[in-house]
Symmetry: C2
Subunit: 111 residues, 2 copies
DNA sequence: TTTATTCATCGTAATATTGCAATATATTAT
DNA sequence: ATAATATATTGCAATATTACGATGAATAAA
């Protein structure tokens, strides 16, 4: 085997896991934080900033783009990337939904 | 190659990515949600609930335990698992810190 | 038209993850 | 002591991820 059995889980569980997977690499966290700071940037900026190869950055950008966390607009030979605010908010809600299921005010219930 | 270049990133970025990685599988999301609902359970409960093999559940539990999201206390032949409230809150803060870096009230700044 | 710039994609190697059967370990019950 | 129960660990196969050089495609500048 070696393939995730997605059929065993709910759509919500698979979706949350997929978003978490997109955030599960420090380079992608760094890209997101850089985009938050600078508002927009190009692939080349990130190569400079992070010190990974151009192809590697491009690959990470594609993963973030695939689940719609970021979007890219072509401008000449460059591609301007930025965070998708709607998706960002929906992801935030997704995680808050998970976090708030747990009543942290009642720690005595732990085993 | 094929190994994450953690030295290129900050401790905070690596930590956030590691936590996200622990959440990046629907089985582990399901385990956490089941624990939130039932407060405590054993490996066998999760085998019944999720339909994965015992060895597979045990492996997922170990991953969650390794980053301290859950803890297990031995009781006879069984092990009672539960969520670690302190760690849960610190993880929640970690994600909120990321989400709140982005000013979602200003969507016009997107590319 | 040629050259430079920027980015995506392909191919490949190294490593990590997922899943499970088989086995080991540890405790409880008979 | 033996059997039953519950979980962890080992070993292995299938698949996925990470990283990067090389190449391709597309636009801009000379």
């Amino acid at each position: 085997m070696g393939i995730t059995q997605t059929h065993l889980f709910t759509d919500a569980q698979n979706e949350l896991a997929n978003v978490a997977k997109a955030l599960a690499h420090p380079a992608r966290i760094a890209i997101i934080q850089y985009l938050i700071k600078t508002n927009t940037c190009i692939n080349g900026d990130l190569v400079q900033e992070l010190g990974l190869a151009q192809a590697t950055i491009s690959q990470h950008l594609r993963e973030l783009k695939e689940i719609d966390i970021i979007q890219g607009t072509i401008e000449g030979t460059k591609v301007n990337y930025c965070i998708n605010p709607e998706k960002w908010n929906s992801i935030k809600s997704l995680f808050l939904g998970l976090f708030d299921q747990f009543n942290s005010n009642n720690p005595s219930t732990c085993c």
